[in-house]
Amino acid sequence: MSQIKNLIDDQGKRTDGRTAEQLREIKIAVGIIKNADGSAFIEFGKNKIIVAVYGPREVHPKHMALPDRCILRCRYHMSPFSTDTRKNPAPSRREVEISKVMREALEPALMLEDYPRAAIDVYVEVLQADGGSRCAGIAAASVALADAGINMCDIVAACAAGKVDDKIVLDINDTEDKEGGADMPVAYMPHLDQVTLLQLDGILTAEQFNECLDMAIKGCKMVYQIQKQALMHKYFGNETELKEESQ
């Protein structure tokens, strides 16, 4: 990966005007899909992602059911118009992998043994992609799962950190992802203090790795507050205010 300098200016501001420890603007709306049992829409910077949760429901095909627990199924998909050049709608290897790591990031928070022989389906659709869509997707998916009333032991928050111009920064955006040095997406359960997703692309020294991990977890805790607010807003918030916002 070629390093292009000046992704951070003299004042320590990044390409989109943020400081090193600042998240992009995040908005989460809960219950935006009528037919779904739970749903969420997240705007994470320029990412626009909808998540729908169906279930617990009967498993088809039936042989996939497990006698002692529920199965979780997860599909991460990017709409053809979500990227600069049109994305072929057929699932790419990247999407297959992200679907898998996403499911594995969500499973530790779910009490799947409460719904034996059933399935929970999580559909993540990226309408517009910016950097960090898997983290945004996970954050929205765990809100949607909570909205569906699935028994959970924690909410999974997610946020990436990375290296830009040899500095560790929070929440890498698209430009920084393509030009920068390293990208590390992390999903984290704030109450259980456990990491459920960890990936790294790019070079980090031992000290940078520790700094990066701590930074990402700090970001996850900020994302968690926004997730919590979104859920509170739906279930305890002022209803008229909510209607105004959705219009």
Binding site: M1, Y76, S99, K100, V101, M102, P108, D193, T205, F209
Partner: protein, 276 residues
């Protein structure tokens, strides 16, 4: 779509208990220490038709990797770099639970994680593999076949790819007047810059062990694969499986990956040098 599935290899409950008990005492069922790896065996140049090849055994896990070099168009957005394409297939020979067919998500993950380690560490200097910038570049294919699976396929496949690449001799192509690339019949060493080493740790209960066997993988709660380069920096990480890690567990695993990575790197260097 990604779906939770029944584990293919089912370990009896009694055996599981034995494993937990043994691990809590610091010994594994096959007698290894918690951070001890199985012996690594490498045979180089076993496929004469390939530009480079290696067979790697870690315990009973057995992988063949082959390098084939051709010329082709560069990838979009990477016009001035050679192309590196890595694939992995778990052959139906590998275990009774594998069926022939298109790669499932675990195989896709395996190939992508191994690829990430090679690519992100910039093991091959792709800038040096350009014939006509933007038009014709070297394309290096590394294809891996898992012929027997007994756990830790991530590391075994990664070592096979690294060994095959290091020992390969790639053909020299020349551009003729009509713009076509022609094989000159000569060969050259590939532009290697560093030696990535992947280390996989899994958590069983509260204990983290290295180089799991298939049986141990059937009992694991979570997995993490960490790749370091020759400078002992991290190049790629992938956490896998359905459990979680605490932050101290992640940091400890990362530290172990650096220490063990050095040991394995020395061993790989020695093994690839001897017969190479």
């Amino acid at each position: 779509m990604s779906s939770s599935k029944r584990s293919t290899l089912i370990v009896e409950h009694l055996r599981k208990q034995q494993m937990w008990e043994s691990i809590s005492k610091g010994k594994r069922l096959d007698g290894r220490n918690l951070d001890e790896m199985r012996p690594v065996e490498i045979e180089l140049d076993i496929i004469k038709k390939a530009n480079g090849s290696a067979k790697v055994k870690i315990g009973d896990s057995e992988i063949v990797a082959g390098v084939k070099v051709e010329t082709g168009e560069p990838f979009e957005g990477l016009e001035n770099k050679g192309a590196l394409i890595l694939s992995a297939e778990v052959l139906p020979t590998a275990s009774p639970y594998i069926e022939p067919g298109p790669p499932d998500e675990e195989t896709v993950e395996l190939a992508r994680v191994v690829d990430r380690g090679i690519r992100e560490s910039e093991m091959i200097d792709l800038d040096k593999l350009v014939l006509i910038p933007g038009k014709v570049v070297y394309t290096i294919f590394v294809d891996c076949s898992i012929i027997n699976a007994d756990g830790n396929l991530f590391d075994a496949t990664s070592y096979a790819v690294v060994s095959a690449l290091i020992s390969s001799r790639i053909p020299v192509f020349e551009i003729q007047d009509d713009g076509k690339a022609v094989d000159t019949g000569k060969t050259q060493d590939p532009p290697i810059t560093t030696m990535p080493v992947s280390i996989t740790a899994v958590r069983i209960g509260e204990t983290v062990i290295l180089d799991p066997t298939a049986e141990e993988e059937a009992c694991m709660d979570a997995r993490i694969t960490i790749t370091t380069n020759s400078n002992n920096e991290y190049a790629a990480i992938q956490k896998g499986f359905t459990g979680a890690f605490t932050v101290p567990q992640v940091k400890k695993a990362a530290e172990i990956a650096r220490i063990k990575g050095e040991e394995v790197r020395a061993k790989l260097k020695e093994l690839t040098h001897k017969s190479g």
